[in-house]
């Protein structure tokens, strides 16, 4: 393993961690999907969020 390998691991882990963080955060906020349509990103009170979380 050389320095470049560690850099690649760091980048891959960071990208995946960010993606998972966004998915989990949206799920916790009650989003039914991750960016499925215009409404999702706009408002937590929009139809793309579970009623339970409102």
């Amino acid at each position: 393993m050389n320095t470049i390998d560690f850099v690649v691991i760091g980048v891959v882990v960071a990208l995946i961690a960010l993606a998972v963080y966004k998915i989990v955060r949206d799920k916790k906020r009650g989003a039914r999907c991750c960016g499925c349509s215009a409404c999702c990103e706009q408002s937590e009170k929009s139809g793309c969020f579970d009623k339970a979380s409102q």
Binding site: V8, C33, A38
Partner: protein, 674 residues
């Protein structure tokens, strides 16, 4: 201060909501776009004193006696949450219809400010409304608004009036004093409604002056006579969809995609040269092929999707899509669906989730559940990259592939509805009445906003779910069960291949019995775009769009050879992915709208069966036509398809029998009563 936006469907509530809050909620030139309430804060420039103003956009309602569930949302919010002020949006072009609801709102004692919306359209139609007189008669402020205009739109005046009304202690007076509909019997309620209509008609006669323009009416009516014609309606719809697909996938789309993919290629090459030869090949492949290549393959289709959404937004805004609902109603009524079912299906062309949610506008439970089950068959935005890829690889970007998928979806929906009606034994009919919006020149601005918000959503999805899935797929295909790196000439020993191979066997009669296709179909249940991403990763194709040959898939022959399946099998795979269950998120939406586990599992079984049978027919018939012989695995496939059809026929007969028994019981009950 809580401010509710209430008014009839398609009076421009969401457009006004977007204009005063700066949000970009989905709007459409048809009734029923909003089915749940949405909240936002008033923009700073309209609210210079920074008052605490929270605006709630409510679904459209014709009266306080709700007929559909979204009207119940409006009624419940107004009665239970008691907003501080209600902005009652009134369509200036249809004053007499709008004011019925206004008279009911005025009786609640909550301060009302009437926004006389679409006043520019009213003016163009030769309608003049005396605002001071209307305000005096209704005993509340009336403000003329044009929510589609950026300036001189009456919105600052509207917000000012709202703040004044909210701060005043004065209870709202009602010009017409009738007891609220809640406390009345049916007979009294009808009498009250008659009084309301009489009041509204007298009021409109007093405040409104109409310059009748027979020519203008005739143009709109003549257009409707052709566009909604019982024989011409469908060919016109086919031509429109064909044109949209031609623009997005043959003309403008590939041109834009070509430029865009050049940037993705540049990124891929820059990272590859940065890593050089020193990087571990497994790690390099994970970053380059798994993440950049896999996500890039999906993102490469973004320009095509943006052009398509732009065209669809223009169609929606022009008022054409509402006419499609009328054209389809004739067929849908015959198979036991509501004409209202077409609205969720049109919404579903963007994304199945809001499409499924829009089914709540259907009152009949069986029709609502059937529509929720069938709506995901409409090709949504996530399925478009799959359509574009297979149309490009196997059929040279022909626009008819995408168009025919829409019409196949409609056919499948009609057949599905017939089967479900027979299985449930519910033959109830409902009638569809829809107020047709006026045709108008579609707004480029609104279409652009809609296009960019969907593009943003697409990129977010590619950067989250698709990225994670592609990384996992890359890892699973790199290692075997001993966690050793798979030899280059033995990819079938990978974890992914061993997991997908048993499933691939089931797909042999469908023409795509390769583990790569099976793996892609499974990841497609997480998000349909994953089909493209997984195929890119498993076949090691970092880019499906050839920049050098200036075409969607310039190297289609090359990719065709990599895939190693025939055109009939390619079409079968496309059909399989379009007509099997949607992504998990859409299944979740189906679950909440159906409110029945039995219906949900029935729907999933039905969708799986439909996808399998259709793919089998496409592959076997296609192979028979193109190669003059039946495809591989015909015998076992036929047994599987016969078993599926046998189960469906059994359930349909059982449904008919139950129906007969229940009608006999009804007859006996009737005789006993006599």
């Amino acid at each position: 201060m809580k401010v509710a936006l209430a008014g009839n469907p398609n009076c421009g509530k969401t457009t006004l909501f977007n204009a005063i809050t700066g949000k970009i909620e989905h709007v459409g030139n048809w009734p029923g776009v909003t089915v749940e309430k949405k909240e936002g804060k008033v923009k700073q420039n309209l609210n210079p004193n920074n008052e605490d103003l929270v605006v709630v956009d409510l679904p459209g309602a014709y009266s306080m006696s709700p007929y559909t569930s979204e009207e119940t949302v409006t009624k419940d919010f107004i009665l239970n949450e008691r907003p501080d002020v209600i902005i009652n949006i009134v369509d200036s072009t249809n004053l007499s219809r709008s004011l019925f609801f206004t008279t009911q709102l005025l009786e609640l004692g909550i301060p009302i400010v009437v926004a006389l919306n679409k006043s520019d359209l009213a003016e163009k139609s030769g309608i003049t409304i005396s605002v001071p007189l209307l305000s005096e008669k209704l005993k509340c402020p009336v403000i003329r608004t044009i929510s589609t205009k950026a300036t001189n739109n009456g919105l600052p005046e509207l917000i000012k009036a709202v703040i004044t009304a909210g701060k005043s202690d004065r209870k709202q007076e009602a010009p017409l004093k009738l007891v609220t509909a809640k406390a009345l019997s049916k007979e009294d309620s009808e009498k009250a409604d008659k009084k309301r209509y009489t009041f509204v008609n007298a009021l409109v006669t007093e405040v409104e002056r109409k310059k009748m323009s027979p020519e203008r009416q005739t143009i709109q009516d003549q257009a409707d006579r052709i566009i909604t014609h019982k024989w011409l309606g469908i060919p016109i719809f086919a031509a429109v969809i064909y044109l949209v697909f031609s623009i997005s996938q043959s003309w403008v789309g590939p041109w834009l995609a070509d430029i865009f993919v050049g940037w993705i290629d540049l990124l891929y090459e820059s990272v590859a040269s940065l890593l050089g030869e020193d990087v571990n090949p497994v790690l390099g492949a994970l970053l380059l092929d798994g993440i950049i290549g896999g996500v890039g393959a999906v993102i490469g289709f973004l320009p095509l999707i943006m052009v398509l959404f732009f065209c669809l937004a223009l169609l929606e805004d022009s008022g054409y899509m509402a006419r499609v609902a009328i054209v389809m109603d004739r067929f849908f009524k015959k198979v036991g669906l509501s004409g209202r079912s077409i609205i969720p299906m049109i919404v579903g062309t963007g994304c199945s989730i809001p499409g499924v949610m829009a089914t709540r506008t259907i009152k009949n439970a069986r029709q609502r559940r059937t529509t929720a089950m069938l709506t995901p068959f409409m090709p949504c935005g996530a399925k478009l990259p799959v359509i574009a890829l297979f149309a490009g690889v196997f059929f040279g970007e022909k626009a008819w592939v995408g168009t025919s998928m829409y019409f196949l979806a409609i056919l499948v929906i009609i057949i599905g509805a017939l089967i479900i009606r027979q299985i449930t034994g519910d033959y109830s009919k409902s009638y569809f009445i829809m107020e047709l919006p006026k045709y108008r020149v579609p707004s480029i601005k609104r279409a652009t906003i809609s296009m960019f918000s969907r593009a943003k959503a697409f990129i977010i999805k590619a950067g989250t779910i698709i990225l994670v899935c592609n990384a996992v797929v890359q890892i699973l295909q790199t290692f075997d069960w001993q966690f050793q790196v798979v030899a280059e000439n033995a990819p079938e020993t990978s974890i992914l291949a061993s997991l997908a191979t048993p499933l691939a066997i089931l797909f042999i009669p469908l023409g795509f019995g390769l583990w790569q296709f099976a793996a892609a179909a499974v990841t497609g249940f997480i998000a349909k775009e994953n089909v493209v991403g997984t195929l890119a990763v498993t076949f090691a194709v970092s880019n499906f769009i050839d920049t050098e040959e200036f075409a969607l898939v310039g190297g289609s022959a090359e990719i065709n050879a990599i895939f190693g399946i025939s055109a009939a099998a390619g079409l079968a795979y496309l059909v399989f992915n379009l007509f099997t269950p949607p992504c998990f998120a859409a299944i979740g939406a189906m679950n909440s709208e159906m409110e029945s586990r039995k219906w949900l599992f029935g729907a999933l079984g039905f969708q799986l069966a439909m996808g399998y049978v259709l793919a089998f027919l496409v592959y076997q018939i296609g192979t028979l036509i193109t190669a003059g012989t039946l495809g591989e695995g015909f015998g076992p496939g036929l047994i599987a398809v016969a078993a599926i059809i046998g189960i469906v026929v059994y359930l349909m007969r059982k449904g008919s029998r139950n129906k007969q028994i229940s009608s006999q019981i009804q007859t006996v009950k009737g005789e006993v009563k006599l």
